[in-house]
Symmetry: C2
Subunit: 197 residues, 2 copies
Amino acid sequence: MVGRPSNRDERYAQVMQALVRCVARFGLEGASLTQIAAEAGLTRPLIRHHLGNREEMIAALQNYVLQSFAEQTEALIAALPEDKPGAALVDFLFSDTAGSSPDMVLAFAALTARASEDADLRAACRESLLGFEAAITAVLRRDYPQVDHPAVDAAAHGIIALYLNVASLAPLNMPQDWTQTAYALARNLLKGLDARS
Amino acid sequence: MVGRPSNRDERYAQVMQALVRCVARFGLEGASLTQIAAEAGLTRPLIRHHLGNREEMIAALQNYVLQSFAEQTEALIAALPEDKPGAALVDFLFSDTAGSSPDMVLAFAALTARASEDADLRAACRESLLGFEAAITAVLRRDYPQVDHPAVDAAAHGIIALYLNVASLAPLNMPQDWTQTAYALARNLLKGLDARS
DNA sequence: TCTTAAACTGTCATTATTGACAATTAATGC
DNA sequence: GCATTAATTGTCAATAATGACAGTTTAAGA
């Protein structure tokens, strides 16, 4: 290979992280190239070089967020232990160790809001969310094989709702007991499944 | 009173509804005065006449959304029946008759996202949400006086999380059974309280 | 009819943001 | 060193949005 080596992939990840963070804070339209550049520690023309024009930028964000969701979900599920995967799953979702997921969820919310204007985006977001729910449901079904499916599905739904709520309200810095109530409630949903087995 | 009669209040409500709708669809920054004017069926300068500059516009939106939340909550609670207020409350929150609440919730979400940049806004949104939760909790406590408080609080928290989830994901047009699962789950939380009394 | 207060409109300078392209620098193989 | 490839920067015109203000119309009361 001749020529300067390409750092495209790493730069792309760096730029996308800055984009996600800016969209989480300022919204899809509020995230200007200058802000993204500042967040990434790069210059504006360089951001544009990697992201293209605004339309391409939003498409890139869509791909990145939805794909990251799918990958992180897959990785998470693969990393669950054998004995009590359901409990471990809930523990992870509500731990602070969940990394940059608040920003990710907020970016997803920004895309969701715009989905009312874009049928393709709407379908993509919906599929992504349903995929997430299906993955969680699959985990719980294997963990609680003797419980009837509707009950397990409902528990998965509730856990996801509580998780999305906590993540998307993260900017409000809700009091500790508020977050802990959500966590306890999620565990209680599992407890309800225990009682049925 | 001399001079042209003031339609300020009605116009203000009309303009604010258009603003809420535009913010719900395009975000805080994405909602341009031109779009708001088109949505309201008015001209741009007239919007500006009523809303002032952008900073004042956001402040007005904040007041409007948070105050509307408080008022609608109060009105809702006052309208609850005597015998089973909790069940009626859940029925209302998850009925399509909930009016324009999706846009309202989405606008609230847009404000929430920006709250990470503005301490005052953060405090206001947090108080608003906690107030909503306190009101729901009060209803449930009166409906289930013999259940211990933590259990009632948890149920209220869960109902609100499910409601906010359904409203903020409304643009995705989730399948019917998805929404119904949330509704059934909320009723199940009440059922759990029944079992404890 | 005349005054008054308010809604409403027209218009323009200013600003922020983008889009695009040329130019430069850096790093690798030959 | 030299050619090559890609990253990186500089710059500027075009566009869109805002802010502001002067001006016009409308509806009431005196």
